[in-house]
């Protein structure tokens, strides 16, 4: 399934290309897309299995998660202090630090810089934050030529689509469709295999690297103590992006900080294992300022752009603040039974899956993403795999609550129904009596006979609920009845 990428920034929503309110129709379309579902099933199963393999070698994974979360809590609770420290330390080492309150400000700042440097080609390594702000579209509007260099991101850019997974952006595309894309857009030979496709990407992108004078990367972790930052990857494209161009711009959300250099150790054990199931990705680069002598390698200028774009609002909420502890590993996507069925595009946000379901409404406003908190069975798999123990189901419930409160039409009826239910549940006689009465009715309604199906369709809430689900039939006798009979 592909979502066409509208070139212009469509509206002022804080997330680029946001279509989260189409979740229902988009997920239904995804469910009909057999190749997509095969790709998703393979990918999510593979990543889940690799992650488990990578955890086995760690003596105490739980202690590691607890430690990672403690560092994040410490950071978030004094984020102002750590940010000031980061700015001071980075500046002292020659890095230029800038802020952007909104995505427009961030895009404008980068485009202005490119114009000031008089560059046309901008090479980019993979960064979810640049996807969030819609950087490519904004640069193109200003006549610049942004080139994604991560293979998956480049495929997506050539196909004019948006990523469907945080770690593997082109997870939804088959080898055949990539081969066809390269044939159409690059004049490649037909039906190349994955190795030849990758080689072709290497050759073409080398050209872009050698001509680009501005490289844009993301940041995985920034260190307040030294003003340094770390980028993790497997391909080497982030190393090229940050080594060849004269100027390096790294962009991060305000929450990417860690207080101390030594904190990297814990997150280097947590992130690759959770993301791709590797004990370490092929490359980590830790940057501390530009090159010091003209004859050295590396960029002459290093800029860090720190983005708020709604994050301080999330910080201001005691219930949902922990959303900002996320390190974007993607483990919750792979673990989620909903994501595994519908894929990333259905969420209509660059942040899909369970983390996207809680992050998107908070960044963009709950009105822009009404269905997302409902896109979960609350099974808790996301919470269990999260390397920093974010309680995603709890936040989803909180957001459902908020959404329901704002629905004036449904609220009185639901409130009354819940009141009646609460009274029944608290009155044992009433509870057992009504269950005894309801049991044969529910058994009939759950049946597959024609009258049963007709009945299901006639009762409005049951009709809506059972449209996509089978109604489970209650047992003939309750547990209490059977227990009593057995013991009498």
């Amino acid at each position: 399934m592909s979502v066409p990428n509208n070139k212009a920034i469509q509206h002022n929503a804080p997330i680029a290309h946001l279509k989260a309110n189409d979740f229902k129709s988009a997920s239904q379309a995804a469910l009909q897309d057999a190749p997509l579902r095969r790709a998703l099933a393979k990918a999510t199963a593979t990543f889940k299995q690799r992650r488990l393999g990578a955890l086995e070698e760690v003596a105490d994974w739980e202690a590691l998660r607890t430690h990672g979360r403690a560092i994040k809590d410490e950071t978030l609770s004094r984020l102002d202090h750590h940010l000031v420290r980061f700015v001071d330390q980075a500046t002292a080492r020659g890095t230029q630090v800038h802020f952007a309150a909104t995505r427009e400000e961030a895009c404008t700042w980068i485009a202005d810089l490119a114009e000031r440097l008089d560059v046309k080609t901008v090479v980019k390594s993979k960064s979810m934050t640049t996807e969030e702000i819609g950087l490519n579209a904004a640069l193109e509007e200003r006549g610049l030529h942004p080139v994604e260099t991560d293979l998956g991101e480049w495929i997506i850019q050539l196909a004019n689509e948006t990523p469907s997974h945080i770690i593997v952006p082109a997870i939804h595309k088959s080898r055949e469709s990539v081969a066809k894309l390269f044939e159409e857009r690059l004049g490649a030979e037909p039906d190349l295999d994955a190795i030849r496709l990758t080689q072709l990407a290497r050759e073409i992108l080398r050209g872009s690297y050698l001509e680009a004078e501005l490289g844009v990367s993301g940041i995985n972790f920034a260190i307040a103590e030294t003003g340094s930052f770390l980028v993790l990857e497997n391909e080497g494209n982030a190393r090229l992006t940050t080594s060849l161009p004269r100027v390096h711009v790294a962009i991060m959300g305000i929450e990417k900080l860690l207080p101390r250099w030594e904190d990297l150790e814990t997150f280097l054990r947590l992130l690759p294992r959770s993301g791709t199931g590797q004990h370490l990705t092929s490359y980590q680069s830790i940057f501390t300022g530009p090159k010091r002598n003209p004859e050295d390698e590396g960029p002459e200028e290093v800029h860090v752009l720190i983005l708020d774009n709604g994050r301080s609002k999330i910080l201001d909420n005691d219930v949902t603040r922990e959303t900002l502890a996320c390190i974007r590993c993607g483990a919750c996507l792979n673990a989620c039974p909903v994501y595994a069925q519908v894929g990333g595009h259905a969420y209509g946000s660059v942040y899909p899956g369970p983390i996207g379901a809680i992050l998107t409404p908070q960044l963009a406003g709950s009105k822009e993403a009404v269905p997302l908190p409902g896109a979960s069975s609350l099974c808790g798999a996301c919470r269990d795999v999260c390397p920093v123990k974010i309680d995603i189901p709890r936040i989803l419930l909180h957001q459902r609550n908020e959404v329901t409160r704002k629905l004036p039409m449904h609220a009185p009826f639901e409130r009354l129904a819940m009141k009646v239910f609460a009274r029944m549940a608290r009155t044992p006689g009433l509870w057992h009596g009504s269950l005894t009465l309801a049991r044969p009715f529910l058994r009939f309604a759950a049946g597959s006979s024609l009258p049963s199906r007709a009945l299901r369709r006639m009762i409005p809430p049951l009709a809506a609920w059972s449209k996509k689900r089978s109604l489970p039939a209650p047992a003939r006798h309750s547990f209490r009845q059977r227990y009593r009979r057995k013991n009498s």
Binding site: V58, H67, F99, L244, S312
Partner: protein, 223 residues
């Protein structure tokens, strides 16, 4: 953006963060004990073995040699059998020593990027290696490794057994203060060849960086 406007944006963002945290008590500092560290190893031989096993598990090739002579012999054999003509090297004196008798042209990679982009092999030293993860650790202030370890399709790294440290913690702790009490402009960790699985999860090496990573490890204790 003018200086004044930039300061205003910074103040806006910082004020919203301060406002958001106005009633939030400072969370306790994370405990200083770092979990998940590897068990200590007694001998250099064990460290060498762990490093080698780890790196080979992700597709790196590791050759053990007993001494510097072994390195030179092996390099000569590899260069001959692969017919490598143009070889980029770093400014490391160890690399210069190991390559001075090669039957090929060598040049300093960081000084000629166009030539580097076309050559078939880059040879670097390393500053440290990590047994826990099979990782090479390079510092930009110690060796101009940035592009020579990245652009050519094959990267050969020369390592001495004395450079192997136990874990990520030890390596990070060295890197933290290594450049006159500071981190160097760039710390690079390399664990295996460049790889991608972006097309149907098919593993392909050499997407942007080297498709082959060969480590020649001087390890007298392992002989």
């Amino acid at each position: 953006m003018s200086h004044k406007a930039a300061n205003k944006v910074r103040a806006t963002v910082m004020d919203s963060i301060k406002h958001a945290l106005r009633n939030v008590p400072a969370a306790q500092s994370a405990p200083p004990q770092i979990p998940g560290r590897p068990n200590p190893m007694d001998s250099v031989k064990d460290l060498t073995h762990a490093f080698r096993t780890r790196l080979e598990s992700v597709g790196g090739q590791v050759h053990l040699v007993p001494d510097a002579c072994g390195t030179r012999d092996l390099l000569r054999t590899l260069v001959k059998s692969n017919d490598w003509q143009e070889i980029a090297v770093t400014d490391s004196p160890l690399v210069a020593q190991a390559t001075d008798e090669l039957d090929a042209t060598t040049f300093q990679g960081s000084k000629d990027i166009d030539r580097l982009a076309c050559c078939s092999l880059g040879i670097t030293g390393v500053q440290h290696a990590i047994a826990e993860t099979g990782t090479l650790v390079l510092f930009s202030h110690a060796e101009a490794h940035r592009l020579t370890s990245l652009l050519p399709p094959v990267h050969i790294a020369l390592v001495d057994q004395s450079q192997i440290v136990l874990g990520l913690g030890e390596a990070l702790s060295i890197a933290h203060k290594v450049d006159g009490g500071e981190p160097p402009p760039l710390v690079t960790f390399i664990t295996g060849p460049s790889r991608t699985a972006d097309i149907e999860l098919t593993m392909v090496t050499g997407v942007h960086g080297p498709r082959e990573l060969i480590v020649i490890l001087i390890a007298p204790d392992s002989f």
